[in-house]
Symmetry: C2
Subunit: 483 residues, 2 copies
């Protein structure tokens, strides 16, 4: 840009719409283009709200200054949070007995609440599989019938302090990871990774899927629980996430290093225990064979971290992004349990052979909790290797992280991005900044086939819809008496 502007004679700076650049250039004048959008993307009501909610250094009692202080508190809690895997609960109904009290039937799912009739096919398949797994039906048809008739309640994972990838379902007999934030005192949960291929979370419900769920409950979960019993401090998941960012993971769509570090953290304890030898080997080999095993742990850690930042009055920090396969929904620290949702977009990325964009389901799963904690798309610069899976160049991956600094509150000193000369990762998405800049948070994600049970067909990148953020801003203004 500099050289253009320093050229002798006429020089043009074009601000905003890029369409004028070419005609000026064609006329022979050097032209520099500056990307600019009006705040709130041109909506005068949003621009006016933004203006009123901006921090004002001269008026500490202005609404914007109150938001700033609240955000500082929220982000400090986020940065101070720990995330330690302390236990495995062998059954979900031990953790949330109220969901299954007196024969009540409940299944959890990803994203914001959604009725059976509105669900995408993969999520329906997952719930059918979970019902079969629990013995609530003998055939998929019977299960679908019972689910459609309302015999089973559905509840978002987030309402239980839990998260789950893709459809995200937890049923009463499933084991869950127990992750504690010892500085904040809060606890988060996640179900177990089933590996790849035909798996429940993508809506598959064949016998091999149910068999694997039984094996996870009876072998894998007890194995990890046994190892944890021999590790008095638990396993520090946040430390693993931080190390993995130096090792090519962004700990959302790539967890190769984090999985190896987790394996290394528990294998000695398991090998030293009295746990059955053949089962110990099977459990360790299962983790070793599944480079995304750590995703569920990264999600639970991110949930523990972000719940610490939730509930600070007037804070505009996003504490959850979750997708139910139809809508993308966000929660905001100062706005309680309310979801702000908008139709999900379909990820752009690379497809496995034989599949294409038309086969893709809309964005799905609770895993975008990772982005709220600064991982995934926010830390894409950490993961050049992910580019091979989702498409694009390493330079683009780095550019995504640079862009995310414009919508976040702080830099996380314990999350270094080597390719940005070890700058701290973007931390704390601020609803105001998203609207002000027009830059939507980037999410890395797996892509599900839109038919139940086909499974993962690719991986890519998607952005959270702007329409999640604009009503959140209005709601925030309301809490401050601004209109």
């Amino acid at each position: 840009m500099k050289s253009d502007l320093l050229h002798d004679g006429l020089a043009v700076v074009n601000v905003g719409p890029e369409m004028f650049v070419e005609s000026v250039r064609a006329g022979g004048a050097p032209v520099a283009h500056v990307e600019w959008r009006p705040a709130g993307d041109g909506d005068p009501r949003l621009a006016w709200l933004l203006a009123q909610l901006a921090g004002d250094p001269d008026d500490p009692e202005s609404p914007g200054s109150r938001i700033d202080r609240a955000n500082q508190t929220a982000v400090e809690r986020m940065l101070a949070a720990r995330a330690v895997l302390v236990d495995v609960a062998l059954r979900a109904d031990e953790v949330w007995p109220e969901c299954w009290v007196d024969g009540k039937k409940t299944l959890t799912h990803a994203g914001a609440p959604i009725p059976w009739t509105g669900m995408c096919d993969p999520m329906k398949g997952t719930l059918i599989g979970a019902a079969l797994h629990e013995g609530w039906a003998k055939t998929p048809e019977e299960a679908a019938d019972r689910l459609a008739r309302g015999e089973v309640s559905f509840i978002p994972n987030h309402d239980l302090g839990a998260v789950g990838p893709m459809s995200g379902t937890i049923s009463p007999s499933m084991p869950v990871f127990v992750v504690r934030n010892s500085t904040g005192g809060n606890t988060a949960y996640c179900n177990f990774s089933e590996g790849i291929g035909r798996v429940l979370r993508f809506g598959a419900y064949g016998p091999e899927v149910i068999d694997r769920l039984k094996w996870i409950a009876t072998v894998l979960a007890p194995a990890i629980k046994t190892a944890l019993a021999a590790l008095p401090g638990g396993v520090d998941l946040k430390a693993i996430q931080s190390q993995a960012l130096l090792m090519g993971d962004e700990v959302h769509s790539r967890n190769a290093a984090a999985t190896a570090l987790f394996h290394m953290a528990i294998a000695g304890a398991l090998a030293g225990s009295a746990f059955d030898r053949a089962r110990a080997r099977a459990a360790l080999d299962f983790i070793a064979g599944n480079s995304q095993f750590f995703l569920n742990l990264s999600m639970a850690a991110s949930k523990a971290i972000m719940d610490a930042a939730h509930g600070v009055a007037h804070s505009s920090i996003v504490t959850a992004i979750a997708r139910n396969g139809v809508t993308t929904a966000i929660r905001v620290s100062g706005l309680g349990r309310r979801w702000f949702e908008a139709p999900s977009e379909t990820p752009a990325g690379l497809y496995f052979p034989g599949f294409r964009q038309e086969d893709a389901n809309a964005d799905l799963g609770d895993s975008a909790i990772c982005e709220t904690a600064g991982y995934g798309g926010q830390s894409l610069a950490a993961s050049p290797a992910l580019v091979q899976l989702v498409g694009g160049s390493v330079a683009e991956a780095i550019a995504y992280s640079r862009e995310m600094y414009h919508v976040t509150w702080a830099r996380n000193p314990v999350m270094s991005l080597p390719n940005l000369e070890f700058a701290g990762a973007p931390a704390g998405i601020d609803v105001r900044k998203v609207i002000d800049t027009g830059i939507r948070p980037v999410l890395t994600t797996g892509i599900a086939h839109r038919q139940a049970g086909v499974g993962q067909i690719g991986a890519g990148i998607v952005r959270a819809p702007m329409a999640c953020f604009t009503p959140a801003l209005a709601a925030l203004a309301e809490t401050l008496g601004v209109a």
Copy 2:
């Protein structure tokens, strides 16, 4: 550069010595500097040899064309080589009985042959420790006396198909890794990592050092041997090296990911075996606590790969770089077992608190075998995180790898460098190109204190001396009847 040259009026291009640039610039003219050095750094005899040894597409029987064909063969063997950890030999004297036949006493060491009187202090300390470990003396003084009197023979590791980091010593009761190149049929060996701190390889020989050596021989080595017995295919070290390059390691001075991947490869098999539980845990925890554990395996793998490329008549590919703490020595594929050596330089890097450059020993150890195989300094672009240990910027790390393409024969398709958009790593250092460009191979390295037993005091970067390469070129010319 472009903008300078396009400036109106006088523009100057300065080729070669940079000293003229400032005076031209001071005179007000734009000046572009082009780095250039005469081939052979201005030595007319070397330049003449280089000219005669350059490949000539019009004359397939020219000396240079014969070297080119030999190099192609050597590098193809290198790229085709596998490196599989197939076994642990519990005692070195099982592998090389000839070294200890009839009560003969032998100790190995890193680098080219060197007499006791010429050795650096750390290497003397290591040999004293090895003699104590073997029970050849009761006190360090007695050990030093026996070693000085010639009661023990010294032999370079490389002469046994082995390698060892820093002083590199192998004694008869020490276990060694057995690494097989199944495509070439050759086998390479390395001793075990002792972890960091006060360790034999840096010249420490206190009781805790000897105790740890006994524990390695009686617990760690049998544990890994037991795991390997339950892994019929062995552990594919080259595959681990390739994955680790995508995970922030250059598998010489940083092996955090490779160590975790190796741990993950053996832990299941060990946990599933009948090996004593407490010892299994101790062995796995030892590896988990030592992020450089894989270095010794990376070295053995690199030795297996480079021995495959060795012995191709007339090839100018460097198949070993090794340092005995006084000299740096290279071996060349077409020049047999001859070492070409020159005084070692002292690495530049970062020092642990309390130490400085003056405390550093000259470059030491067989670990530069990694660079000959394309790892370490050659693949520094893969390891932004290493910059935190050795100093410099990520951009400089990337620049080192780019530079190394100028002295290498090929790009290794199974070794991708993410930060170079997944280009294959530089493969096969060509003696001719080193002399022609004046670019010396970059080595990453640990820095030893120059006094025995103080241990590692830092880590850094060093270059192989040009004086290793120039006599090698002359020797190569001789084999082709060129003078």
